[in-house]
């Protein structure tokens, strides 16, 4: 199966055509102008991941910005966001404090990205 995607490694934005076999492995990549395109297609098509950022509203009403410490599977983004939205936290928090451990069973923690008094 041929899958099409846009490389984001540089502003060139090469249109990539990647051949994927039945096991879901990337067999070949075309359309790229450099090796980064090939690597990008392989990761993006086998296990695309994203860092998720959003806010948690503290009990005092103040929004606290948070992120997943590492990238999580792309198809888990909404699940992660919903889990983050459902927690209630108390202030103060420090930048880097863990807000949720192992969010949505991704093995990744959600941490605060700002110290809020």
């Amino acid at each position: 199966m041929i899958k099409e995607l846009t490389c984001i490694c540089c502003p060139m934005g090469c249109s990539l055509k990647a051949e994927v076999n039945e096991k879901g492995e990337v067999v070949s990549v075309k359309g790229n102008n450099c090796v980064r395109g090939e690597n990008y297609a392989k990761t993006e098509l086998t296990a695309p991941v994203r860092i998720v950022t959003t806010t948690v509203i503290a009990r005092s009403g103040e929004p606290v910005p948070v992120k997943t410490e590492k990238a999580v599977a792309k198809d888990k983004i909404f699940d992660v966001v919903n889990n983050i939205k459902s927690v209630k936290i108390d202030l103060p928090v420090k930048m880097g404090d863990v807000i949720i451990e192992n969010v949505s069973d991704t093995g990744v923690n959600v941490v605060s990205t700002r110290s809020v008094e």
Binding site: P11, M12, G13, T54
Partner: protein, 425 residues
């Protein structure tokens, strides 16, 4: 107490980097004035990641980048005042000192003095009125940055059905942000045939969520008297004029505008700083000094950046230059080379270089006026070629940073011209 070596106007990424560099260069008596209630400026509301790859070699969110810098400011014991706004900057004729009039609840309205000033006030968004979109003026029309502030800093829930005009980075980021907040983003319309945002933002903020990017489209009418009910979007022709027959209705309760940023230079202009109409920022030389002696400019108030890392680097140079000015006085100006723009180059920062006082390496930053593939960036002085750099792609959304050696500058006998040499030529 009210007489300082250096005053830095703005405590965002530019102001903080300038302050740290000036302190490192030996200036102890400096003061940062910040109008907001915390340091960090616009970074505080940019809760997404993608900051700091150059500066910290890791990917941070805006608040993290801001807090790291704020921590350094505190560590270096650099004084700063929050909720303090500068009302005017004036260069005193007799002493060459700068008189800075500030207002805060603590100080009241007061004039303080400094040998040198760094302007680091950032930029503002182009509002709807300046875009001349016809229609009603209902609730629900926000600039993307205002919406970002409302959601990320005020915890507001502003809309459910969204259209975005302009594919600037803040618009793209807000498309994703609104989606994650439970809204449906119907489309992002962009007047130009290319996006003004970064490619990775198009993929990660639009494509990931199946949000269509309508290139060569614009909003031609806004409906809803008190509250936004919908907008009409039409395709535009080659002259960017809407084609009436292509008009389509998009019901929505929120319209976000991400249609350009304008350096906020009203203060600079009042202080006599000359403005480059190409950037809406100050004319500066290689030391980032403006047309007013002892007044330096950096960051988004100088020219709009796409990477905060570049802002920090540039602002550190402004801080160093200001320190040098304070410690050594006015630099002797012998030979000045003007930088001219040729094919495809919209502007350059700086616009002139004092060769003698230039550092070993001079940064020249510019933006191109269109999309250029497989071209060369060429610097010439008369017929003499000083530099040539191949480039696979140049786009208006990404600032170009060229570094020119002093030895090359010394080869120039007359003004230098920077241009894009296209393959077919």
């Amino acid at each position: 107490m009210n007489d300082h070596s250096l005053i830095i106007i703005g405590g965002g990424p530019a102001g903080m980097a300038a302050a740290l560099a000036a302190k490192k260069a030996g200036i102890d008596d400096l003061l940062i004035l910040e109008r907001d209630s915390r340091l960090g400026g616009i970074l505080n509301q940019c809760i997404h990641n993608g900051f700091g790859l150059h500066t910290f070699k890791e990917e941070l969110t805006g608040p993290e980048y801001a807090e790291r810098y704020a921590n350094m400011i505190k560590q270096e014991q650099i004084p700063y005042e929050l909720n303090t706004m500068v009302l005017s900057v004036e260069c005193l004729k007799d002493s060459n000192k700068k008189a800075i009039t500030v207002i805060s609840s603590k100080r009241g309205v007061q004039t303080i003095y400094a040998k040198a000033v760094v302007l680091a006030m950032g930029c503002r968004e182009r509002p709807r009125g300046a875009l001349n979109i016809p229609g009603y003026r209902p609730q629900g029309v926000y600039t993307a940055g205002t919406a970002q502030k409302l959601i990320n800093l005020e915890g507001a829930n502003i809309g459910k059905e969204v259209v975005i005009l302009g594919s600037g980075d803040i618009g793209l980021i807000m498309a994703r942000r609104m989606t994650l907040e439970g809204a449906h983003v119907a489309a992002v319309a962009e007047l130009m045939p290319y996006s003004s945002g970064l490619k990775r933002n198009i993929v990660q903020c639009l494509d990931d969520y199946n949000i269509p990017l309508l290139l060569s489209h614009t909003v031609v009418d806004i409906k809803g008297k008190e509250k936004l009910e919908g907008v009409y979007i039409a395709k535009v022709d080659k002259n960017l004029q809407p084609i009436e027959e292509t008009k389509e209705y998009y019901p929505c309760d929120t319209l976000l505008l991400s249609c350009g940023l304008i350096p906020e230079n009203e203060l600079s202009v009042d202080g006599g700083v000359e403005i480059d109409p190409r950037t809406n920022g100050a004319y500066v030389d290689e030391s980032l000094e403006t047309s007013v002696e002892g007044v330096f400019s950096c960051g988004n108030v100088l020219h709009v950046h796409d990477l905060v890392d570049f802002v920090s680097e540039e602002s550190a140079r402004a801080g160093e230059s200001a320190a040098r000015y304070i410690l050594n006085g006015k630099k002797p100006i012998k030979e000045t080379i003007e930088i001219k723009t040729g094919n495809g180059v919209r502007y350059t920062v700086p616009y002139k270089i004092n060769v003698d006082s230039a550092d070993e390496l001079t940064h020249i930053r510019f933006r191109v006026s269109g999309v250029y593939k497989n071209t060369s960036i060429v610097i010439k002085s008369g017929e003499k070629e000083l530099m040539r750099k191949k480039s696979m792609i140049l786009v208006p959304s990404e600032m170009v940073d060229l570094v020119l050696k002093k030895s090359k500058l010394e080869e120039a006998d007359e003004a230098i011209t920077i241009f894009i040499e296209e393959a077919s030529q």
